[in-house]
Amino acid sequence: MRWITVFLNSSIGKKIIVSFTGIFLCSFLVVHLSGNFLLFRNDAGEAFEVYSHFMSTNGIIRFLEIGLALGFILHIFNTLRLTLENKKARPVPYAVYKPSENSTLTSRSMFYSGLLVLAFLIIHLNTFFVTHRVIGTDVTMYESVVESFKSPVYSWFYIFAMLLLGLHLNHGFQSAFQTLGMNHKKYTPLIKFLGLLFSIVVPAGFATFPVYFLFFHQ
Amino acid sequence: MKLDSKIPEGHISEKWYKHRFQLKLVNPANKRKYSVIIVGTGLAGGSAAATLAELGYNVMAFCYQDSARRAHSIAAQGGINAAKNYQNDGDSIYRLFYDTVKGGDYRAREANVHRLAELSVNIIDQCVAQGVPFAREYSGYLDNRSFGGAQVSRTFYARGQTGQQLLLGAYSALSKQIGLGNVKMFPRHEMLELVVVNGRARGIIARDMVTGEIKRYAADAVLLATGGYGNVYYLSTNAKGSNTTAIWRAYKKGAVFGNPCFVQIHPTCIPVSGDHQSKLTLMSESLRNDGRVWVPKSPDDSRKPSEIPEEDRDYFLERKYPSFGNLVPRDVASRNAKQVCDDGKGVGSSKLAVYLDFRDAIKRLGKPKIEEKYGNLFDMYEQITAENPYNVPMRIFPAVHYTMGGLWVDYNLMSNIPGLFVLGEANFSDHGANRLGASALMQGLADGYFVIPYTLGGYLAEGGLDKISTEHEEFGNAEAQTRERINKLLSIKGTKSVDHYHKALGKVMWDNVGMSRNAKGLDEAIKQIKEIRYEFWQNVKVLGENEEINQSLEKAGRVADFLELGELVARDALQRNESCGGHFREEYQTEENEARRDDENFSYVGAWEYKGDDQEPEMHKENLAFEYVKPSQRSYK
């Protein structure tokens, strides 16, 4: 079993875990987003309630939830390790350093965009998950959503976080494929295009909720 | 001194075969009891180190670069010859042998050349097995191109980076042995003295170029694979660090120096752009496969090349040598370029260049094909000159490139000092007075992979080697000599930099001992070199100390040796009253200005023996016999 610890502690192994969990978290975003679209049904949140009730009580979903949490933890844990090691690899910085000539800002700031997305995640979890699932409340999930998004501060923060998520995904999506060894002259342009699309559509999709509840919801 | 070339008996095609059987063998279990020092890790040294370590010898390998992979073999561009006859165009071992002897203007040893041609075949096999990515046809078979001096396509290539790929092959084999602990590698170490004990080469003194430590290394044999001495001309296509120190120290310890005046001037280099020029860049000879060499017919034609119509162009190589055309051997191409420039027809601002034009090839094959074949060379040219050779012809001029001369060795690659072997460009052996394109790589690898493993074993198995330690007094003497020399260089504290003297030497060499030579100029050169050398030792300025990285000190030691070698090159050129290959004496030419060889009087190797700093060296002759390729006037018409 030594091979597995060697793999998990190697630079490439850690990267692969980050990529793998990254893609997994992307799939979660899709599920989460498509469920959330029920908020747009003009039924005073009835369908959304059914959905959120199902999501919080169904055994399989609860089981998958553990996987999701594990995904987040592994993603963050390995990123932290890699970032610390990467910092250590250059103890003396350059006096003049022009990375903009050779790489994109989004690719270089994955740690920071990730950190901010994490901050958002904590607040987001606190608003919904902790309130409803940990502490417990009489207010329905739908009411919580409406309530939260009525606050311009919360809504704008949410939109800003989605922007960062977009930047994170913009590099992260295609980068994950590269790390997993999928780089091909025929398919990589497609992956890059899908990554771009994903990094726009998904965060924009999420951003529609605060926009809707802030400006259009009666 | 009698020079015994130890050429085996028998028919030329059986000599090596028989000799291998006659050489004594070292029992596999005993090999690890022997240690070998190898200086230089280019194609010859790197391949020898890897192969000898594979066999079980304890190897210590030294190079001045920070990594064995950077030896200047890496810069060879065009390719490597091998008599595979994959093209079915009439090639054979015998033809490669014949072409090489003829190309060398009948000044090489037939037996050595034939062995080289035989081994050429194995080299390609070995390199492919190591993963050298030679160019392939779409079918998956190996591709070939043709090179100067041959009418068959026998050159294997990896884009314009063949030397690099072959060296990386040898380096990777060497790396494996280093990893296994069979080779102890000493990068950033420079050999500064050879140690001879009881008449045998038993070790070296080397300087650690990072700490300045002077250390002693003992072994049962010493192999020098330190390349050529082209930098005696200051400007050459050699690497800045390429030097003669290792072989020159050996010469001063009694090894004789063969044919020092045989220097190859390569026809296709990028011309000098100004006084700041620090080195010259070669454009591979393979370019002459598709490029056409020309100058304007009229000396005062100042039109742009594209505006000069066909009838006003002189494709002088095609005109004078219709059967070989642009692919005449290097010495012929260089001399003709010099001639047209001497006639005032040179191009560019310095008037010291000729055109190498790809217009017709691009028209015939299309730009993509040319790009695939020569893309990196074209890019390199554009980087340096800021001109795009797809649109305007290249400007080229000859430059010092390779030295056929070197330490004299016998058939076993052993010098006249027992236990001192010399491989690759550092020896004098296989190319005579002129080397054909794509043959240097072949020789380096043949020596390292396939010759030395047998002949070194033969030497060691003969026995008679006492155990010695670095405490032996000869090591002490050699170390003391080295230290004294370094201290002297550091203590002069004169007014002129090392480069100043190197440039002064280079100018004398290029002007008087360059592409064409005459007795008066050579006499003058000897006189001037002595003066420069005298002044150097009075007035050179080397800052800093020994116990640090001191690049001025490194250079100073090398230039000091060049200042002695330069004189020997001139002396050798002066005694050789004939023109042959790269050695062109103005007094000895035909009516058509071609080289006039004198086989009656000069069919020998001039091997120089050091007699002391205040005495003239003595020349010994090894007479050359041509049993198979009868000397005739070389004709490429």
Partner: protein, 246 residues
């Protein structure tokens, strides 16, 4: 051209270094960057100042010796070339040029602009080879390699080991170097018997040397003087994944 040079000076690996400022006049645009440093050194020697130490050898872009950080870029402002191929026409009269050594923990500065790149050699020693005992090779045409594969292997094999990828990477990662080596051998059929051991050993050695990991910014590819593609890094990852789970 008149230039102001800010050059990193450091006596040895144990000393602390700093920038020194030098003015240089009459620089020709046709000079290479290293020839400009030669001129500077001649001037320094005449003023009894220790000349600037820098690694260089072939001066034609193939040996990989030279390598300095010039104005915030590995090998200077132009792509696809080494410092020795950079010519002064890429700068303007009056420019200030900052010259620094490669910065990475595994590459300690030995003096001025000279760094120790021996970790790259040690990575090679751990597995960067095809074991082909001299003399044991079959005929060169016995194994067919299609043209495109041979070209792809050559693309990877073009690496000159200069360390620019490490220098340019924000993580000081050596993955482009390692991947070029691994790709070269993995693409060729001759390299297949040892492919798993090779990639596992080389990556282990790379990590041991203290290089950072790849975050796919692509800086290495952009600064590589031989324009080696990061598709090689994907291949390295693939090889590593396959070898680990086999």
């Amino acid at each position: 051209m008149k230039l102001t040079l800010k050059i990193w000076r450091q006596k040895d690996s144990k000393s602390k270094g700093d920038f020194s400022t030098y003015e240089l006049e009459s620089v020709s645009p046709d000079m290479s960057f290293l020839e400009m440093l030669d001129i500077l050194n001649e001037k320094l020697i005449s003023q009894n100042i220790d000349p600037v130490a820098f690694d260089h050898d072939c001066r034609e872009g193939i040996c990989g010796s030279c390598g300095v950080y010039i104005n915030g870029r590995a090998h200077g402002p132009k792509r696809g070339i080494t410092a020795c191929q950079l010519h002064m026409r890429s700068f303007k009269d009056g420019d200030t040029i900052w010259v620094e050594p490669w910065r990475a923990k595994p590459f300690p500065v030995l003096k001025d602009l000279v760094v120790d790149r021996s970790p790259l050699d040690r990575i090679m020693q751990s597995g960067g080879f095809i074991s082909a005992r001299t003399g044991s090779a079959p005929d060169a045409n016995a194994v067919l390699i299609d043209h495109d594969t041979a070209e792809l292997a050559m693309d990877a094999a073009a690496c000159i080991g200069c360390g620019a990828c490490v220098a340019a990477c924000k993580n000081a990662s050596a993955m482009l170097f390692v991947s070029a080596k691994v790709s070269h051998f993995a693409l060729l059929p001759q390299g297949h018997p040892e492919r798993e051991a090779r990639v596992l050993n080389m990556v282990a050695q790379m990590d041991k040397e203290g290089f950072g990991a790849c975050t796919n910014t692509g800086a290495c590819e952009a600064e590589c003087p031989k324009s080696i593609s990061i598709t090689n890094i994907a291949r390295l990852n693939r090889e590593y994944l396959k070898a680990s789970f086999k």
